[in-house]
Amino acid sequence: MTAAPALELRSLNKSFMLRSGTGWRARHVAHPAVRNVNLILPRNQILGLVGESGSGKTTTGMLALRLTEPDSGQVIVDGTDITRLDHAALKPFRRKMQVVFQDSYSALDPMFTLAQIVAEPLHIHQIGTAREQTEQALHWLGRVGLHRSYGGRYPHELSGGQRQRVAIARALILRPDVLVADEPTSALDVSVKAQIINLLQDLQAEMGLSILFISHDLSVVRSLTDTVAVMFNGRIVEQAPTEAIFTDPRHPYTRSLLDAIPVLNPRDRRLRQFASREELEAATPRLRHADLHVPVTPSAMAQLVTVAPDHLVEALVA
């Protein structure tokens, strides 16, 4: 009997109202950012959530943390449905889920010292005395690779990679079960990217963290994650163990994402194909019942079906 997954998202939906046009001709259009998303993040695993800009992956991350409210659906943390909890009831659960953002500069309050930044979670949850909080903060600065004496410095004195380390320290000081990392390496230089990825791997192994790793950078995802979910237009179109995604992509969108990764060998380039968005929308794979690993009821709408162990694809089942 496996333990409850660290994080589970069920049928999440979120639309944003956008205004097009001006004045009295303005129309308010509902833009569905996240459509019927189901995700399971098991314990002690890293799930990569990939897709292009605007695919809804960041919104999904925000929904999971309840930094945005879902229109419908459920967010379940360690077996408990936290979707409708109010501020006070939610607070203990906030300790279990933390976040690291892409923009490390605006993620740290420029007026706070590094020690204050890292200690803030302890302060908000009123854990320990002020002295203990500072001591913990400095200890964690060390764990992420910064010398303790950095405690008295300010964010603007650090490089991007160092700030991201501070953000990670702040996220992990409460020992959460789930870490949502929203494009944490996208703004960093290549060499620094590798350092941060290694740091995350080491910490994950030490602490048994579950990480929801949101990124558009497939090469990073390949080296870090255990499972990958691909998002397109607000929906999950494919989900499988990492290697399966890269060696056996079933959905045309996944294929075009992989094709977009620059290749060194010119000969391999000729094999790539790029389809437009409309073509991709229309190219939902059509599968017969026999192809499925787990049977589902046929439906006129595309749905996520299992085509191999742990490998889900969005398809139309005839």
Partner: protein, 310 residues
């Protein structure tokens, strides 16, 4: 666009009514009625009769509604200090000097200011620029009654070139007009300078120069039009503010304009006149801001034609 206008109108109307209530209550709360002060204290019976005649003995909210009802019919009552005419007539009479002096001040100051600003922008960082900027800053920061005082002292007292008071003949108008002109001049000098500098630095101007367009054409046909929008929208409130007469300029130059009457109406507790003046000014400012907002939204091609999303 229509929605925007209607919404602004509605909000302005609400604001107007709230302001009218507040002013009304404040006015009537000032100690001493209109007939209490003065050299000849009246016997109480006489005073009560006069108060009743003017409806001043009734509860405040009754007075307020009666008054506002009249206002909506453009009947502002009769001023206590000169019962021979209606408030409207008095305002009409008193407005003339304010309008003439203030209006001329704005009409003269604005183009002067624009020219000054242009000169400063075109001869940036030269003595022309520094002088113009200094004059503009001085004009804006020194309060208008101080400027008036300086003008009087220098030109009327020491140099004896002009007159310090009254407005019966055009010669007497010079100093007040100069005083009035300082604010628009300074404001426009600043605006023009910074707007032009902003535009001159934009890449499209470099392209125009590379195309070989003469400097003069560039300035008049392109740069000015770009800078014009904020300047146009600021004109109306400024005009209203100046054309209704500055209390100080009128006090210092002894001009019987709106400002002077405002001061006297407060002193003598002349409710109808006071109320009418305040309301009138408030309405005019409300409308001025409304029109400016609309003008700005309409003139700005980005708002008018909509931008692309993302």
């Amino acid at each position: 666009m229509t929605g925007f206008i209607l919404r602004r109108l509605a909000s302005i109307t609400v604001t107007f009514f709230i302001v009218s209530v507040i002013i009304f209550v404040m006015m009537h709360s000032i100690e001493g009625g209109p007939f209490d002060a003065g050299d000849m204290p009246m016997p109480p019976a006489v005073r009560d009769r006069i108060m009743a005649q003017y409806g001043l003995d009734q509860p405040m909210y009754v007075q307020y509604f009666k008054y506002m009802w009249g206002v909506l019919q453009l009947d502002f009552g009769v001023p206590f200090q000169s019962p021979g005419e209606t408030v409207l007539e008095l305002i009409g009479r008193a407005w003339v000097p304010s309008l003439v002096l203030g209006g001329l001040g704005v009409l003269i100051g604005t183009p002067l200011g624009i020219l000054l600003g242009m000169a400063a922008a075109l001869r940036r960082n030269t003595w022309v620029d520094y002088l113009a900027s200094a004059v503009a800053t001085l004009g804006l920061t020194i309060p208008v009654f101080v400027t008036s005082m300086i003008l009087i002292l220098v030109f009327a007292v020491w140099l004896d070139w002009s007159y310090a008071s009254g407005w019966s003949e055009p010669q007497k108008w010079v100093l007040p007009i100069v005083a009035y002109a300082t604010i628009p001049m300074a404001t426009y000098a600043r605006y023009t300078r910074s707007a032009m500098l902003d535009t001159l630095n934009k890449p499209f101007v470099t392209v125009l120069r590379a195309k070989g367009l003469s400097e003069r054409k560039i300035i008049f046909q392109h740069v000015l039009r770009n800078s014009a929008i904020p300047m146009v929208t600021v004109f109306l409130p400024m005009f209203i503010g100046t054309a209704t007469g500055s209390i100080f300029v009128e006090a210092m130059f002894r001009v019987p304009g709106l400002g002077a009457y405002f001061v006297s109406s407060i002193r003598t507790r002349d409710y109808p006149l006071e109320m009418a003046l305040m309301l009138m000014l408030t309405v005019m400012f409300c409308l001025a801001y409304l029109i400016s907002d609309i003008l700005y939204a309409w003139l700005n091609p980005r708002i008018r034609f909509g931008g692309r999303r993302k």
